[in-house]
Symmetry: C2
Subunit: 210 residues, 2 copies
Amino acid sequence: MPKGPTKRRPQTTARLLAAAQETFAERGFYGSSIEVICERAGLTRGAFYSNFRTKEELFFALFDLHAQRVVDRLSAAVDELDAAEDPVRAVLRRMSALDEAERRWYLLSTEFTLHAIRHPATARSLAEHDRRLREEIVRLLGRLFDRLGRRPTVDLDSLARLTTAVHEGSLAQSLVEPDRLAPEELAVTYLPLLVEAVSEPAATGRRTGS
Amino acid sequence: MPKGPTKRRPQTTARLLAAAQETFAERGFYGSSIEVICERAGLTRGAFYSNFRTKEELFFALFDLHAQRVVDRLSAAVDELDAAEDPVRAVLRRMSALDEAERRWYLLSTEFTLHAIRHPATARSLAEHDRRLREEIVRLLGRLFDRLGRRPTVDLDSLARLTTAVHEGSLAQSLVEPDRLAPEELAVTYLPLLVEAVSEPAATGRRTGS
DNA sequence: CGCATCGGATACGGGCCTGTATCCCATGCA
DNA sequence: TGCATGGGATACAGGCCCGTATCCGATGCG
């Protein structure tokens, strides 16, 4: 039963999120003072403390938005796989199209991960968020193997971790040397080989049907 | 022809490096003010500015020390490979023993990488340091394939990049969830498979000789 | 033995950021 | 229409850190 105006709220929150996104990308998590974020949003620090308790809270809000986008995109990519040539490559190509937004996100999430590692309470929150995202990836991997007509011989959660590791590790390298290593080049080169190596032909006679 | 005392210098530098190492590990690169580093070294900021120009310079000094240690260790591991079971695993086991020191270094170098990505001039320096280290790794990979009696079918520099990516990406995950993912677990699981996938038996009849 | 010089300590001015406490206005229901 | 309440702005006090300019003592050569 709120009496006063509660309409402007979401607007303000959205503006703060957008401003945070940009500021974080440019100056990093530590480098972004709350002050500067508010400035960019055209608001004051009062507005911030009214909507969030800490900078971390702000980050997790961004995390959820991003995870949703990633899952949607991956999911769509798998959905639209026709009897194409190489499903693994097709999905990867789809992902490497993220470019600038993904670059920004990589910078932010990695720095935040380091921050979390040094702050156990934050790490627990982060692990939970990560877990939820990985769950979705496991699901997608399952569908992918299905399409390939192969059965994985390893734990899919572990494989999801590996793909994440490769993605992030190689992204780091290509960001440091943009013209020496293309993003996803490593993934495109090695993951198809690996997918083959960790799976075996599914029982013959059965196809992809339910 | 320095007249005055120049003997205390290396001592002071060493103390600053040690203090920086610890402080960086605990509070990160951005989180470590020059002031605090000096404090821990039992020196004043005057001493710092007399020995280094910036915090970055301090970092690169640490980088070189660390790279040397890594190369030495890897090199020794490959040297001592007897006709053992699985050379890849043997080397990896050797590396995962780094534990705490490696953990510290991972935290520091990753944060610094992010910093570099946002500062092109710094990125160039970092890329150069990285390159030198990777050169050594390529050399070691060469020896490893030799021992396996296999010939790589991919560019070794690219493969070196991949192993680095996996190492760092998976380390990140295991640091966030220490009891859910053991360090190097991903590498131990997948790299041997991959090594196989990216090489073919060397010309028969020839062995490991020069 | 004295002095030139080097290495590190001290002192200074200034900037930025945080978190809270308080205030004001706009809103929308009674 | 008036008023209770919520949302955001302002003001305040304090802390940390930077980089430089200057100073002092120790050292080892001549």
